[in-house]
Symmetry: C2
Subunit: 432 residues, 2 copies
Amino acid sequence: MSRYLIRAMILPMTDAQDFYPQGEIAIDGDRIVSVGERGTAPAGFNPDRVLDLTNHVVMPGLINTHTHAAMTLLRGYADDMPLMPWLQEKVWPFEDKMTPEDIYWGSSLALCEMLRSGTTTMTDMYISEEETARAVLESGTRALLSRGMIDHNKEAGNRSLQENIELFRKYHNAGDGRIKIMFGPHAPYTCSGEFLLTVKQEADKLGAGIHIHLAETESEIATIRERYGTTPLCWLEQQGILGGQIIAAHCVYLNDAELDILKRYNVGVAHNPESNMKLSSGTARIPEMLKRGIAVGLGTDGASSNNDLDMFGEMRSASFQQKLLGSPEDLKAYEVLKMATDGGATVAGLKDLGKLQPGYKADMISIDFDQPHFYPRFSIPSHLVYCARGGDVRTVIVDGKILMEDGRLLTLDEQKICREAEKRARRIASEV
Amino acid sequence: MSRYLIRAMILPMTDAQDFYPQGEIAIDGDRIVSVGERGTAPAGFNPDRVLDLTNHVVMPGLINTHTHAAMTLLRGYADDMPLMPWLQEKVWPFEDKMTPEDIYWGSSLALCEMLRSGTTTMTDMYISEEETARAVLESGTRALLSRGMIDHNKEAGNRSLQENIELFRKYHNAGDGRIKIMFGPHAPYTCSGEFLLTVKQEADKLGAGIHIHLAETESEIATIRERYGTTPLCWLEQQGILGGQIIAAHCVYLNDAELDILKRYNVGVAHNPESNMKLSSGTARIPEMLKRGIAVGLGTDGASSNNDLDMFGEMRSASFQQKLLGSPEDLKAYEVLKMATDGGATVAGLKDLGKLQPGYKADMISIDFDQPHFYPRFSIPSHLVYCARGGDVRTVIVDGKILMEDGRLLTLDEQKICREAEKRARRIASEV
């Protein structure tokens, strides 16, 4: 464990919207000791190393609240297609040919990309998730992992549930607590009520949260209406699934009463604007959610429907999407930054993340602001949302450890991972 | 003048959608000699230099068909505000304090950012445009420049028209033809019919085109309806302004009959998706324009309403915006790339640009594809639209001259420009 002193412009993402143009952060081990103007480190704080990041902005690491990391292997495999043929003819047949080892390399590729673009925590749902756990441990990042579960039939459902339980036993709190395990029933339209209830009971026994897709498309709404005569969220409430930690991804189609339900049960929303746009899913009612005090985080969804995992692009798209259909005042820059940091931490149930303040975990990133697209420097939050790109991130620290420095990844063998991912994706495509 | 041989993956943006994974381009002076697989350079072609860009994709330089370069000085000065207070309380008072020298530095900053993100040609409209011309000449880029003209009163209108004529005399075809001068009457709602007709006559005398804002907002439609009982485009037609080269920026609110008018008069459309989203202007009917064979290019608009000048972000937003309100099949990756290259060249009236093919101008860029967000390489066009960011551009060649190599700008003093722009923007803000 090391002690670092960082000198930079600092945007700690506090509620007071502090900003320190000549700031200083002291880190001891995995925790932040102090944040403020130059000279605020405690007397006698003796760093092992001083990181001089003048001209960089340091902010909390970004939290990606909904993704399917290993789907990087499908990046560019199929685009610009209607949803059902895309899934049935392209995505599902490809996924059928993926081995656990493929999941490991696809997840590793995602982690390279995430680190490079400033994401320090991801909330993931997929198959062979223990392979993703392995990649996360090696990368040094933070993750909430769940086994995506669909009960086509009772046996398949139960098998996947056993895998999720096994995942929990093996990896919950692994990597000095960097990994948390959640349960991942896929969606109301792919899981029966009986199965969801069993999942919920098992999750409750272990004190684990649930990560589920919800109200993503109009067709989902129609399906649930036809099947149960109600909406996906109301049906979940009727089944007794709500309560405890729940991350609901997408939440595009919700009426006022349902927004109240989200608030009542403290359901966290993972908002995925680029996926919702690229797949023509629709526009989630984010400003109304925020007005009600519902916790909202940002997510990229999988690389097959985005197609990158760049949370800076996601922030910009989140704001643009709302403004397009509302007013220029919707989702202001600082609000969007909050969603990608503090909001994400709340959704993920991580109490000491999402802000830079004493006692919080030392998860942070630096963005090189000495570039033409960041001048003049009238507003740092505005520049981070409307001008910054993933590639502008130069330093990444997670749990007090430097994972990227001056644009070099220190924990992952990027060259090897890119080559392996390419080879495996080609093999899978050839087998489809 | 030099002879270069470039080795790279090559996406020439031809109608046949060619792609050369191990390609080769021969350049002699300002022109492309050959494009194809390795070994297609003419026998006896003797390059001064071989540029080995293996693992880079080389494509035509991007064409930004609508911007106000010097507005980089307003980047982040005012955001997330309703349109009219934003203009009246922030943008216009700021612009009132800008000196010609400020315009020069603001334009230079824009050119740094454009080169860094792969834009080789811009279509610009602003005040003190001779300062922008000066910056363009120094940068080595290509530009179509026009003096933005508003006739608040007859005298102001005529003075600005004289400036535009002077600009034409001094700079048209300057820099080995890299600069073209157009005429820039601001918009139907800010110019009288009489003034527009005078401008059109002067432009015709000089053989110059016209660059104008058109049908950008619902409020513009209402104003013109109230004033003239018709739509902005129909009014322009009635005034006899259409015909000859016209670049119409925005074109958000057009009915079917107006789309037919655009087609009939060969009006080129400059589509600005990010500005249209950020200012809540609306969504232009791009797929319907393309179906009718209307020429459509992409533009960033000014940095105050975007807030960057990154055409890669603009491409992604163009596609996402259409898909959100239409279907996932709208604005496919290759169509968007065409808009940003070949479509832009057509709109700009530049006949030998926008594609890499023998005899065309040697304007091209390289994108470093050896990065995690470009793996696996299933589709180069998809990756360029959905994953690439301005910062991935490493090489820029305009008119056969290397302006950026390995991420270093060779013609502009970037450090000095950033510092000057910062200083001047602060001074202006303090004077408002």
